[in-house]
Subunit: 382 residues, 2 copies
Amino acid sequence: MDFGFFLPTKILFGRGKISEAGFYAKELGKRALIVTGKSSAKKTGSFEKLTKSLEDHGIEWILFDKVKYNPLTTDIDEGGVFARENKVDLVIGLGGGTAMDTAKGIAFAALNSGPMADYMEGKSGEKALPIILIPTTAGTGSEANNIAVMTNPNTMAKKGFRSPAIFAKVSIVDPELMDSLPPKIAASTGIDAFFHALESYISLRSNPLTESISLKAMELICENIKKAVYEPDKESRDKMAVASTLAGISLGQAGVCALHAMEHPLSSFFDVHHGEGLAPLARAFLNFVKPHAIEKLSKVADVMKINTAGFTEEQKAKEAINAIVEMINDLGLPNSISSFGVKKEDIQKLTSNVKNYMAHNLSATPGELTFEDIVRIYEESL
Amino acid sequence: MDFGFFLPTKILFGRGKISEAGFYAKELGKRALIVTGKSSAKKTGSFEKLTKSLEDHGIEWILFDKVKYNPLTTDIDEGGVFARENKVDLVIGLGGGTAMDTAKGIAFAALNSGPMADYMEGKSGEKALPIILIPTTAGTGSEANNIAVMTNPNTMAKKGFRSPAIFAKVSIVDPELMDSLPPKIAASTGIDAFFHALESYISLRSNPLTESISLKAMELICENIKKAVYEPDKESRDKMAVASTLAGISLGQAGVCALHAMEHPLSSFFDVHHGEGLAPLARAFLNFVKPHAIEKLSKVADVMKINTAGFTEEQKAKEAINAIVEMINDLGLPNSISSFGVKKEDIQKLTSNVKNYMAHNLSATPGELTFEDIVRIYEESL
């Protein structure tokens, strides 16, 4: 056993906590760039709550609301220039994964010259502006790790940029901001959190600390996701919010596997919502890893509270996979990648993209996936 | 649900990792104070491994080996003066909980004037020299939190000093350093780790994140402690080491309860080894909290792998308590506080000490312990 664990972010969880944003911002800077989407944070009142707290504490702020779903490295470059021009000394990401990842990217780009695409390819840069993250969905867990996912428009590589510099100084997880999440978003972001937990759990880079966190996240999600989507109440929202943060921690420390790797080109080529893209790939992916992760998948059956008295580990693993597929169906998530417009002839291109750009995730996956294995998983998901 | 989580320590786990100490020290300072005990780290070779790594990386070092079991605040004051006089810019704690806690205290005392006892009583101080911690026992988990336990000789209050400044920058958990732990120390430190996990789990300040970590720590300890004590091999040592760190994380975030609170005056008045002091109090303490923590104690039965098919939660909780007491007996730990020389007439004094100095731990305990409850638990443990 050989591992490291590093999570220097101060995580604050609780309803109404966004009102403390200004207090923490004041310890980090004087002039903040708020990175958020065009409309949702404004419509729901989250944006106003944030700016009020900043103003109460005498923090100036500038808005960058050009956050796009599946952000490009060139969008980040643009944000970096904007941050420098406006002389901000702090970046606050408010929104879902894209807003938070864009905020992380901009905080980095502001202090490192040259295109972000170069840093994605390994150019080193150590500094970033201090970051505060405030999620408004229970899904990406970006508030709890140092990964920012973005796409290089030249190569169409969508992958995670990692740097110790982009851990948030403070993350405020306030489930109140998620109370108005539409069911479709609650489902797609919730299933994303579930697979962060599951993939980090079976990851070859997991350790006892991340495994315990991943299992707890899965337990909370399985107990609460349907309620949070169809009949949301405070308790189910709270538990999905905490589960998402837990899964984000494990994802950051232990990584995710081939399921995430295989979803990324769906997002970049077909502009699919990430959580929706994971859903139809799950069954074939899980069937592939099952023989290599039987013991762990059998424990997933336990946290899903499946009655498996007298079952072998293999039977438990099988039941866990069935229950996951059933959960996806119950949430009304897509069950075929054809629904995104993917055709059989696209699969070579998708597979090449995975093999070329997602080696890190593939190497964390139990079982050694060949090119042909990936093709088969896509084909079975058509 | 309302909680915070903050653990800015870089934790490195693995056999042989102590050889990287110099690499990390170099990022933090040039001249290190090594805080360790009189003999054991030297006898086992840990001290030599550490100094070699420091020298390989050009770090000067000075030795402070006056670490005492159950350190006094005045010992810390002395260490702080020594650190200042020797112009060190980094403190490295190598040893069990006392060495690590002494190192944390000295790092703080070096940069804050006036007696440590004042800071224990609430005087504020924000700075400390950077700290590296290297445990040589699997017990205290001090490497994973910002608590340093020490005793004020004027009041005999033994309690934890907390400051964000005394989180280690880097903690190196190298199970190789624990390979020569004598059985008695493996048992008493291991049971301490177990109760960090159990008490932080049932603590009223727990949250889903710490709960998952506490449960994993208990699971690992119950599976490995007997082997680690009686027939130690690498696997059982490794798992006890990781469990101890996990329990140390939960302890730091969620706190411990009245069991730890009631042990502290045993240590300060009767110079008992902390782990040995916990053992005889466990049964009466657990019977007291049972009605207030039935659901959680029933889950302890699950991680202890007790066959409880068809049992109610209450029956499961009872079985968990029985199994814990059996584990303590199997490890040859004391089963009565009389064995430390405690007499019935001492109990008022012990109870007053708990009530006066351990309010923080008492308020984390399920059920509201009165003075009489504490007396009764001590009496039942005689």
